[in-house]
C-alpha cells in the first residue's frame, strides 16, 4: 500500500497579515489527493487569500505548504504543480482560444504537434471543439469559463485551484456548470480546491468543506456533517436555514442543556463544545439552534413523542415552495412572545394563517453553542 500521507496537500500553521489586519491566522488543513475540497466563507474571510497563497501569487508570513511530501511554499507560482482558474477567467484578450490554452505549454517548450493534440484534447473535454480560432471577447460567459478551465487543465496540473469560478454566471448556467465541474473532477481524479461564498454550491460539489470566518477555519467536514452537526455558531448560521430560540439556562449535565423558554416551557438541547454560560444557572441566556425541517407539526389529537421538545404558536405565514411548504409561526406561551419560528413541512396545505399549531423537535437535533452572543 502506498503511503497515503504523502499523497496530499498539507497546510501548516499559515499566518498572513496586511498592515495591521490579520487576514489568516493559524490555518492547518490536510487536503487529500483526488478530493473536491471547498473553502467556504463570507467575503473577507480570507478564503481567496489562502488560495492565492497556495497558488504562489501571495506569500504567507508564517507557515508551510507541503505537496506530496515536498515543501512548496518557497517556490514561485510558475514552479508549483498547480493551476488556477480565476474568478473573472483572466483570459488573454489578444490570444485566440487555442493560444490561450496553449500558453502554458508553449512556455514549457512542448513540441508543436504535442501542443496541438493536448489542446484538442482539452477542447473536446470541455465541449469547446470548433472554438479554437475564436477570440475570448466573442465568447459567452459560460464558454469563457470553459476556456479558463481548459487552459488550467492543459498543463496537466496535479491540483486545480478555483477562485469562485462560477460567481459571474447566471443561475441556470451556474447549476449546469456545477454538475459538469463535479463530473469532470471525478473523471480526471484531480484534486480540486474550490473557493466559494455560496454554501449551496459548496454543499453540492464538495467531498469536504472548510468553513472560514475572519481568517480562521471554523470547521472542516463533509457537507452532511456540516449541516447536521455544525461545530460553531458561525457554521450553524452560515450554512442552511435555522431557527434560533433565546432562553435561560436552567440545568446542565453531561453534554445536555435545559433551557427555560418563558415561564413553563423547558427545552432540552445538545451542547456543542464547552457548555455555554459559566455563570449561575437561571441567569445565563443562550440560544438553541434547530433546522426548520426538523420541526414536526403535530395534528390536533396527536401525542407528542417521548422526551421531545414541544412549542405552541400561531401561524402567521404559509409559503408554498413546491416540494414543501414553509410555515412561519409566532410562539405563544413563552416570555419571548415575538419569537418567530419556521417549519418546513409536506403538509402545508392543511395549515392556514391564524391556526394554532403545536410543533415538536428532538433534543438530539437541537444544538447550543459556546460563545454565542447575548
Amino acid at each position: 500500500m502506498q503511503n497515503s500521507n504523502l499523497l496530499n496537500l498539507e497546510i501548516r500553521n499559515i499566518h498572513k497579515r496586511y498592515d495591521s489586519q490579520t487576514a489568516l491566522s493559524n490555518i492547518d488543513l490536510v487536503i487529500r489527493k483526488g478530493e473536491f475540497f471547498s473553502l467556504l466563507g463570507p467575503s473577507g474571510c480570507g478564503k481567496s487569500t489562502l488560495l492565492r497563497i497556495l497558488a504562489g501569487l501571495e506569500s504567507a508570513d508564517e507557515g508551510e505548504i507541503w505537496w506530496n511530501g515536498r515543501r512548496i511554499d518557497q517556490l514561485p507560482a510558475r514552479e508549483r504543480p498547480f493551476n488556477m482558474v480565476f474568478q473573472k477567467y483572466a483570459l488573454f484578450p489578444h490570444l485566440s482560444v487555442f493560444e490561450n490554452i496553449a500558453f502554458g505549454l508553449r512556455l514549457k517548450g512542448v513540441a508543436t504537434a504535442e501542443i496541438r493534440s493536448r489542446v484538442d484534447e482539452v477542447l473536446t473535454l470541455m465541449s469547446l471543439a470548433g472554438f479554437s480560432e475564436r477570440m475570448p471577447e466573442t465568447l459567452s460567459g459560460g464558454q469563457q469559463q470553459r476556456v479558463a478551465l481548459a487552459r488550467a487543465l492543459a498543463n496537466r496540473p496535479e491540483c486545480v485551484l478555483l477562485d469562485e469560478p462560477l460567481a459571474a454566471l447566471d443561475q441556470k448556467l451556474r447549476e449546469h456548470m456545477q454538475t459538469e465541474l463535479r463530473l469532470l473532477q471525478r473523471r480526471l481524479g484531480l484534486t480540486f480546491i474550490f473557493v466559494t461564498h455560496d454554501q449551496e454550491e459548496a454543499m453540492l460539489l464538495s467531498d469536504r468543506i472548510a468553513v472560514m470566518n475572519a481568517g480562521r477555519v471554523e470547521q472542516v467536514s463533509t457537507p452532511r456533517e456540516l449541516y447536521e452537526a455544525p461545530q460553531s455558531v458561525f457554521c450553524a448560521r452560515f450554512v442552511g436555514r435555522r431557527n434560533e430560540i433565546l432562553g435561560t439556562v436552567q440545568r446542565r449535565d453531561a453534554g445536555w442543556v435545559d433551557l427555560s423558554f418563558g415561564d413553563r416551557v423547558i427545552l432540552r438541547g445538545r451542547s456543542v463544545g464547552a457548555t455555554p454560560g459559566s455563570g449561575v444557572d437561571g441567569k445565563t441566556e443562550t440560544r438553541f439552534f434547530v433546522r426548520p425541517e426538523r420541526l414536526r407539526i403535530l395534528t390536533a389529537n396527536a401525542n407528542p413523542s417521548e422526551g421531545w421538545n414541544t412549542l405552541v404558536g400561531e401561524v402567521v405565514q404559509v409559503v408554498f415552495r413546491g416540494t414543501y411548504s414553509e410555515v412561519v409561526f409566532a410562539v405563544t406561551g413563552g416570555a419571548n412572545e415575538s419569537t418567530l419560528l419556521r417549519a418546513f413541512t409536506d403538509e402545508g396545505a392543511t395549515t392556514t394563517v391564524g391556526d394554532q399549531v403545536r410543533v415538536e423537535f428532538s433534543p438530539q437535533e437541537t444544538h447550543v453553542f459556546s460563545g454565542v452572543d447575548e
Partner: protein, 291 residues
C-alpha cells in the same frame, strides 16, 4: 410603440450633429489642403509669385538626394525620439498605473505641468542653463574641467532632450490610460501558467497594450517628423530638417510651389508610416498549425 423606435429617432437626430464637424473639416482642412496641392503643381515666378503652368517639376526636385538626406535625417530624429519616449514612458506609465489613487493624481499633474508650459519658455530655460555664459559653463570652469563652451550650448543631446521632454506626455498618457484599465490578473494567470517576468512582459503586457503603444508612437512620431523649432534652438540651426526646409521655402526662398510639393511629400510619407504602424494594431496569436 417600442423604446427602440424612440431611441432610434433620438439617435438619428443626434446623428445630424455629425454634419457640423464634417463641414468644418471640409472648409478648414480639405480646402486648404487642396490649395496646397494646387500650388505644388504651379511654379515660382521671378519675383516669388505663382505661375500656373501645371507641372510635376517640384516633385522631381524633391526627389533630389540632398532633400532625401534631409528627409532621412528628419525621419531618424522622429524615430529616435519616439523610441526614447517609449523606453522612458513605459516604466513611467506602469508606475503611475500601479500607484495609489492619490499618487496617481500627483503623477498626472506632474506630467502635465511641462505639457502646459509654453514650448519657448521651456527651451529658453534650458538654453539659459547651458548658455556660453550660463551657470553650467561657469560651474565646470570653476571645477577646472576642459570643455568646448560653444558645443555645450548647442548639441545633439540637447536636441534629443528637448524633443523627448516635449513629446513624452504624448506617449505616457495613452500608455497610462491603457495600463489603468489593464487587468493585472492576466499577469497572475501568466505566472501561474509558468511565465517568468520577461515572458509576462513580452507575451502578455506588451501585446495587450499594442493599441496604446501604436497611438503613443504615432502621437510622438508624426509631430516630431515635422519638428524644427527645437532642433534649431537647441542644436544651433546647423542641421537642415524637413520642417526647416519647408518653412524656408515659404518664408525665405519665397518658393511656395516647391514648399507645397515638399509638404505633400511629407504628408504622404507620414500617411504611409501610419498605415505601416497600424499593421501592428491587429489581433495576433492566431494558432500556428503544423502543416
Amino acid at each position: 410603440m417600442s423604446d427602440t423606435h424612440k431611441s432610434r429617432r433620438v439617435r438619428s437626430r443626434i446623428g445630424r450633429l455629425g454634419w457640423v464637424p464634417i463641414v468644418w473639416y471640409a472648409l478648414f482642412l480639405l480646402g486648404p489642403l487642396f490649395l496646397v496641392f494646387a500650388t505644388s503643381l504651379a511654379s515660382r515666378g521671378i519675383y516669388g509669385g505663382l505661375e500656373w503652368n501645371l507641372s510635376g517639376e517640384n516633385y522631381l526636385r524633391s526627389a533630389d538626394p540632398l532633400f532625401s538626406l534631409i528627409l532621412w535625417r528628419s525621419f531618424l530624429l522622429a524615430a529616435v525620439t519616439a523610441a526614447f519616449c517609449f523606453i522612458i514612458g513605459f516604466p513611467m506609465a506602469l508606475a503611475m498605473a500601479t500607484a495609489s489613487a492619490t499618487a496617481r493624481n500627483v503623477f498626472v499633474f506632474a506630467l502635465a505641468i511641462p505639457f502646459l508650459t509654453n514650448l519657448m519658455i521651456r527651451i529658453c530655460a534650458v538654453k539659459s542653463l547651458v548658455a556660453y555664459e550660463g551657470p553650467v559653463a561657469h560651474f565646470l570652469l570653476a571645477l577646472g574641467v576642459e570643455f568646448d563652451r560653444f558645443a555645450l550650448s548647442q548639441n545633439l543631446s540637447l536636441v534629443l532632450y528637448g524633443m523627448i521632454s516635449s513629446y513624452l506626455p504624448f506617449m505616457v498618457f495613452p500608455l497610462y490610460s491603457a495600463l489603468e484599465r489593464f487587468d493585472f490578473s492576466l499577469v497572475e494567470a501568466a505566472q501561474d501558467l509558468g511565465a517568468s517576468y520577461i515572458q509576462v512582459m513580452n507575451r502578455v503586457i506588451l501585446p495587450s497594450l499594442r493599441r496604446a503603444i501604436v497611438s503613443g508612437v504615432l502621437l510622438v512620431f508624426i509631430p516630431a517628423f515635422g519638428e524644427f523649432v527645437i532642433p534649431d534652438l537647441l542644436g544651433g540651426a546647423k542641421t537642415m530638417l524637413i520642417g526647416n526646409l519647408i518653412s524656408e521655402q515659404f518664408l525665405k526662398a519665397r518658393d511656395w510651389p516647391f514648399g507645397s510639393a515638399l509638404s505633400i511629400v511629407l504628408m504622404l510619407i507620414l500617411a504611409g508610416a501610419i498605415w505601416w504602424i497600424r499593421l501592428f494594431d491587429r489581433p495576433m496569436g492566431r494558432p500556428r498549425r503544423p502543416a
